[in-house]
């Protein structure tokens, strides 16, 4: 009896040889490890917070912030609450990210296509752009734009000006500020209505093309639909729009719309840096389309432009979109580098100033991480939806 048991044991027949039991054991060990780690950390945090007299909880959101923010998209004063500052910072992050994504996409596509150009000079130039921009740290580039380019601009009195309306100096860019009078609501409505009609027209034209094969030229009608109704309303309402021009008063400009240099530096750096990556993605995407596709399109009689637009780009987009998504996410995350130059983005306002003033590191850093996580998840969900729409529909 014992001999048999020993033989079995020697062959290695133990409880651990049962894969299911082993899996349960490993997973429960993992669970215990995570739980005890969490328990230990929470205990440490409690004693530390108590010994350092740091308050906890989210009450600070209703406390007066007491600091100024240089760029605010919604009304904000020093007497506003931390909660308000949170929203102001978040909007600033979203602003720079949204503009950055659009511009980086445009520049990136242009550079990517230029790199594939048959013009040797142009393609080499685009190649040099990509290599230089990709191989320098983003923070280096942000500081370069901020300190070496915008920081060395002349003062307000010696501003560079464009047509006497737009001024550029070391305090930022000053542009005329649009003032909307009564009746501009109707113009906005006309813009929306015209655009809606244009979209309906496009859908109808596409359906008709799919059904009958006839191509309807909608270009001019679309342009008219988008432009004419707003223009007409604008005239009828008595031109409800005026501009407040920036004026030099004393040592600084007064009036107009000021774009702070921190915003410009961050935007330039984010756009040029991300565009270099997007250019590589676009190039790879276009190269991934077999030459046969282009040749087939040519032999069908399509011209170069149409071939690109109807045959190459739609297929290349399937290759381009997934990595493009991660570049967009990178751009959003990289916008937090604003902290280095003091652009009041979400990170600088919240994890910087608010953290310094309240000292509630745990809540604030946790919320900061959660917000970036949320923005990332929403962006990638949107891009995944777009990607699914582009995906090849196979039977």
């Amino acid at each position: 009896m014992s001999e048999i048991a020993d033989a079995g044991r020697r062959k290695g027949r133990s409880l651990l040889d049962n894969p299911r039991l082993r899996a349960i054991l490993v997973q429960s060990l993992l669970l215990i490890a995570i739980a005890s780690l969490a328990w230990m950390l929470i205990g440490n945090v409690r004693t530390n917070l108590a010994s350092r007299n740091i308050a906890s909880g989210f009450g600070f959101f209703d406390v007066t912030a007491g600091f100024a923010i240089s760029q605010t998209l919604i009304p904000y004063e020093e007497s506003s609450t931390y909660g308000r500052a949170f929203v102001v910072g978040l909007l600033n992050t979203l602003l720079v990210s949204a503009i950055g994504i659009v511009l980086a996409t445009v520049l990136g596509f242009a550079v990517g296509v230029a790199r594939l150009s048959s013009n040797m000079l142009l393609s080499r130039l685009a190649g040099a752009y990509v290599e230089i921009l990709r191989n320098l740290p983003l923070l280096f580039q942000i500081l370069f734009w901020y300190l070496a380019v915008l920081g060395t601009l002349p003062g307000p009195r010696q501003s560079l000006s464009l047509a006497g309306e737009i001024f550029l100096n070391n305090r930022g860019v000053f542009v005329p500020k649009p003032l909307f009078a009564a009746g501009s609501g109707a113009v906005a409505l006309a813009v929306v209505a015209g655009s809606a009609l244009a979209i309906i027209l496009a859908i109808w034209a596409r359906r008709r093309r799919l059904a009958t094969g006839k191509i309807i030229a909608t270009g001019w009608i679309t342009l008219a639909l988008v432009l004419v109704p707003p223009a007409v309303t604008f005239v009828i309402m008595g031109a409800p729009l005026s501009f407040e021009r920036p004026e030099l008063k004393g040592f600084n400009f007064d009036g107009g719309l000021r774009v702070v240099p921190e915003f410009l530096a961050l935007l330039f750096a984010l756009v040029t840096y991300t565009a270099a990556y997007i250019a590589e993605i676009v190039r790879a995407g276009i190269l991934a389309i077999p030459r046969g596709q282009t040749e087939a399109a040519y032999s069908l009689g399509l011209r170069r432009g149409l071939t690109l637009r109807l045959v190459v780009v739609p297929q290349a987009m399937r290759v381009i979109v997934p990595p493009l998504t991660s570049q967009y996410l990178n751009l959003i995350k990289n916008s937090s580098l604003a902290a280095a130059i003091g652009y009041p983005d979400f990170f600088y306002v919240f994890a910087g100033t608010t953290l310094n003033q309240t000292g509630q590191a745990i809540e604030i850093i946790a919320i900061t991480m959660a917000v970036y996580l949320a923005i990332s998840l929403v962006t990638s969900a949107l891009m995944n939806w777009y990607n699914r729409r582009l995906a090849l529909r196979e039977r």
């Binding site: 133990s14 191989n135 060395t152 970036y372």
Partner: protein, 453 residues
């Protein structure tokens, strides 16, 4: 090949064609650059762009630059780079405020690293295994001792913390505390006994398990021992580290520490155990979803709150922990790519040979997967190298941080100081990153040739 079965046979010779006149390099240039109005516009645009970007850079860096001088007065009216500024600040850019008399230590670390790394990177060099062991196993300890001065001054291990174990008082030999090391050895044997009993209860091979535990303790102990020994080196606080040295320390530690963790996470993400998979996915996606700067803030402001009271961790070490966790998540995704590229038949063949999970992974799957993803790892390293600049936001002065500090020096205030500093740092960053990306590219080409892909 008689030709009788062909449908068409030419009976007369074709007329001789005139020699090609529209060929040769000149024609290629004309065709490539001036073949149409759009192309001409592109060419003109490129020429203008080069004239406006490249020429001033060359003039600034070389032609108009000031090469000699003792202070800012030499550069006041200069139209080009002020190289004496870089010369004067060179030590600061490379070492930060590391004591000048002790700078031979970082120098030695640089040289040793280069000597070990070069043959590791060259695909043709022999003795890869020993080389890798030296670089990943021994070199970090040597670098640690040389840079910090070693002599950790450890007092208590596990038992000492949990009980009032303090038999030897503060007696030390060669910088080693008797309390700590006797505690360590006792703990090791205690754990080994516990492992043996636990394994025996489960019916596993108990003796082997306890020896494994002892071996792990011995290996870790050897590392800690080396770092704890007093070699008579003067200690240098990490606060006085800076410049390129910190950049390299953060990047290399980050990548070396993230590799094992990344491999474990990648394996966890592909595990069949749902809890393990879930934990890995949450970990990876969390760190990938947040910006590095929040991770650095987490490490700087939040981590101290998580530690037991009385324990304080060095500022640079905190950042290193944050960077390692962050890059482990990215590393996991790179390794996962390699794991997915290994065909199922490899796993099946390993299983058929009777290999267990860890044997399959360490002898069959991982060696192949890691070879595939070396370019990806290098790419990760380039990203990390660039991202180390972010540490300046948490007041650790790497190359970029030292640069910024140097700008504030009134002794070197001149109109060209800013541009000179950016040019110098830019060249350093570019040389490192571009070199590494070329290296990754050459590896990819090599793999493509070798694998016939």
């Amino acid at each position: 090949m008689t030709g009788s079965d062909r449908a068409y046979i030419r009976t007369r010779l074709a007329a001789n064609e005139p020699p090609p006149t529209r060929a040769g390099p000149f024609h290629a240039i004309v065709q490539g650059l001036f073949s149409g109005p759009l192309n001409i516009a592109f060419t003109l645009f490129s020429i203008v762009a080069i004239a406006f970007a490249a020429l001033p850079v060359v003039r600034f860096l070389i032609v108009d630059a000031v090469w000699q001088g003792m202070d800012a007065s030499a550069c006041q009216g200069a139209g080009g780079a002020c190289w004496p500024f870089v010369q004067a600040k060179f030590g600061q850019f490379i070492y930060g405020t590391y004591p000048e008399a002790l700078r031979w230590r970082p120098d030695l670390v640089f040289v040793l690293g280069a000597l070990l790394l070069a043959p590791l990177l060259a695909p043709a060099a022999p003795l890869k295994r020993i080389n890798a062991l030296l670089f990943f196993g021994i070199y970090p300890i040597v670098a640690f001792v040389l840079l910090t001065g070693g002599n950790l001054d450890l007092r208590h291990f596990l038992i000492g913390r949990l009980t009032a174990w303090n038999i030897f008082g503060s007696a030390t030999t060669a910088g080693l505390s008797w309390n700590f090391w006797s505690d360590y050895v006792a703990t090791a044997f205690l754990v080994a006994v516990l492992v043996e009993v636990g394994a025996a209860l489960l019916g596993a091979r108990a003796r082997k398990a306890s020896f494994t535990a002892l071996f792990v303790f011995a290996a870790v102990g050897a590392v800690v021992l080396a770092a704890d020994l007093d070699f008579g080196l003067e200690p240098v606080e990490t606060r006085s580290w800076g410049g390129l040295m910190v950049t390299l320390v953060v990047a290399i530690t980050g990548i070396v520490a993230s590799l094992p963790l990344g491999i474990l996470l990648a394996l966890g993400r592909r595990s069949e155990m749902p809890l393990v998979r879930l934990a890995s996915v949450i970990f990876i996606e969390f760190w990938r979803g947040v910006p590095l700067i929040t991770v650095l803030f987490f490490a700087t402001y939040m981590l101290p709150l998580f530690l037991p009271s009385g324990v304080s961790v060095d500022g640079l070490l905190r950042v290193l922990i944050g960077v390692a966790l962050f890059s482990a998540a990215y590393m996991a995704e790179v390794v996962r790519g390699g794991l997915q590229a290994i065909p199922k038949s490899q796993y099946e063949a390993a299983e058929a040979l009777g290999l267990g999970y860890w044997q399959t992974m360490s002898f069959v799957v991982l060696p192949q997967a890691l070879t595939i993803v070396i370019p990806g790892i290098v790419g990760n390293f380039i990203g990390l190298f660039k991202d180390t600049t972010l540490v300046l936001i948490v007041a650790i002065f790497d190359l970029l941080g030292q640069l910024r500090a140097a700008f504030a020096d009134p002794a070197w205030a001149s109109p060209v100081t800013l541009y000179t500093g950016f040019a110098f740092a830019g060249i350093i960053y570019f040389v490192f990153c571009y070199g590494m990306s070329r290296y990754a590219l050459s590896l990819e080409r090599r793999a493509a040739v070798a694998g016939g892909r």
